[in-house]
Amino acid sequence: MNNGERMRVNGEREEDEDEDDVDGEGLEAWERSYADERSWESLQEDESGLLRPIDNMILYHAQFRRRLRALAAATNSTTARIQKGLIRYLYIVVDLSRAASEMDYRPSRMAVVAKHVEAFIREFFDQNPLSHIGLMTIKDGVAQCLTELGGSPESHVKALMGKLECSGDASLQNALDLVHEYLTQIPSYGHREVLILYSALSTCDPGDIMETVQNCKKSKIRCSVIGLSAEMFICKHLCQETGGLYSVALDESHFKELLLEHAPPPPAIAEFAIANLIRMGFPQRAAEGSVAICSCHKEVKVGGGYTCPRCKARVCELPTECCICGLTLVSSPHLARSYHHLFPIAPFDEVSSSRQIDPQHRLQKTCFGCQQCILNSGNKSSLYVACPKCKKYFCLDCDIYIHESLHNCPGCESLRHS
């Protein structure tokens, strides 16, 4: 909350500064609010010529299904067994050059990027509990490491929000060189990734950037770029060479969508990371009321700690690395959080309204998940889906919830030997 507010204050100051520059364009302040918000785009005309808000649900669901199908196709084509890079080491590079103060995003590109990076970091750790993130900024032609690779979302968010100022040019090469330096140190089983959020339309480099791109490729660093202005050849080239994704955001919601696409683990490519067995400890929670000095903060804590099974040192939080013996300490729920990536549920089939007459299925009139009536005849939105395995019907809302959050098919789960 606090962070968000500070960010907004920052953004507003930015706006005020920029106001003087933009005035030259000849748009009055009141005109600008219409030109930027495009409020007419959220309306559509129906048969009788009346204006109605666009029915987002159907659109949203269609979009969701497209994404799901693309995902299913991607996993089927590679291997029968799904392998994903579940242990990721990701550097997020935020471009804080002059271009980040542009106001085509509201209040500024920088503020929008910061807001969504915060959401992304939380989502990332939710989906990849054993992974690490580091933050980096580009400013005045120099890349700067903001936070080291680490597993705590709070520290990253805090560091980013404290450093939201932009100036100078952007340098892709300096950023890549610095990331390269850090990422070559990580263990061989980890997946090395860079995600660059690039606002500028140019890069100001000290040497040959093509060489840097080849270096990244050699070190198996997967580079992805999300552009905020327009497509650039060098970014596209970088992503193609290193197997990353290149996308350019159209607006804020599109940017958010593109960013969150990077949260689920990418398919594991054998040559990118060597499969290995990692030794891990599963510490038990100490009894309530026991007193011990924790090795991470060097403070006396009462109860609620975990004890490293190898060296018996006390740590406060999981997952972490034991400060004394270096053992990776996790709890079984952390591992279980990632299992849904390995056992995804199949996309549901859309059922056309004509199937309703089918006598075999006529009995089920409600969504199997939430008991909502799915055969509301008068309404034209009586679209619903069926699980290919258990043939149970679900409403569109449940379809989205099941695939995006629950990762269980209630129908299959409530039948033995499904």
Binding site: Q83, L277, I278, S331, S332, C370, D397, S405
Partner: protein, 296 residues
Amino acid sequence: MASVPSKLYADDVSLLVVLLDTNPLFWSSSSFSFSLFLSHVLAFLNSILLLNQLNQVVVIATGYNSCDYIYDSSLAANQSVENGRMPVLCANILQKLEEFLLKDEKLGKEESKGRIASSMLSGSLSMALCYIQRVFRSGLLHPQPRILCLQGAPDGPEQYVAVMNAIFSAQRSMVPIDSCYIGEHNSAFLQQASYITNGVYSKPQHLDGLFQYLLTIFATDLHSRSFLQLPKPVGVDFRASCFCHKSTIDLGYVCSVCLSIFCKHHKKCSTCGSVFGQAQSDVASTSDRKRKTPDS
């Protein structure tokens, strides 16, 4: 739920989704009879509905072969007031429960006897969460949902991934999973579920007083909970069990590709099929750390 927006919801209105274990294998071996259990639970459900006029109760049966909705107090059919001796709630639940038990038994006819005695907990949890999502969608004002598992049968290891998925989804949408375990040994699934979702786990010592346990621990709404001294989690076991022998370990090997857990070093992962590099385990990982520590 059509009439919902017109009502004013305070923070003490609850939606209680009860997952009722009807596993015949458990109840036939239990010293506490199912009918006695039901009489305690029905009294409890009645008192929940009486605590606040807007409270809502949904009952889902967790059977041996299937799961199904048994009762929903928001449905119009369940709201009529009758003059008969037995309250409408009890009559409806008992009737639906009987239908469900018959259906559940039929589904299991082909099954050979002597299988694992677990119930379909993952299914009923998933259904409950879908229902709660629908309540969340119904508007800004809705009752505070929570799930109560009345479970007796032991955990089914094959449901581990599905149950954990449901727990994490509940955690994300801030739905506490309370559990009252009636079986003999503690249920690791439910202990973890309650711990992760900030719910209450309780294993009543004297089943004759089940109603008292239910009323004192699980009847209060989420807002009032902060004023009560509820049972604290004691020693939730977060140790993992290895995939190869299903034994509980506190130090083990984890596949870097699929995060399967093994108790000793293997050449190939049995889950995802990836072949592991040279037998570097202890030595390599510590040397990696050593290299990392100076700059971190």
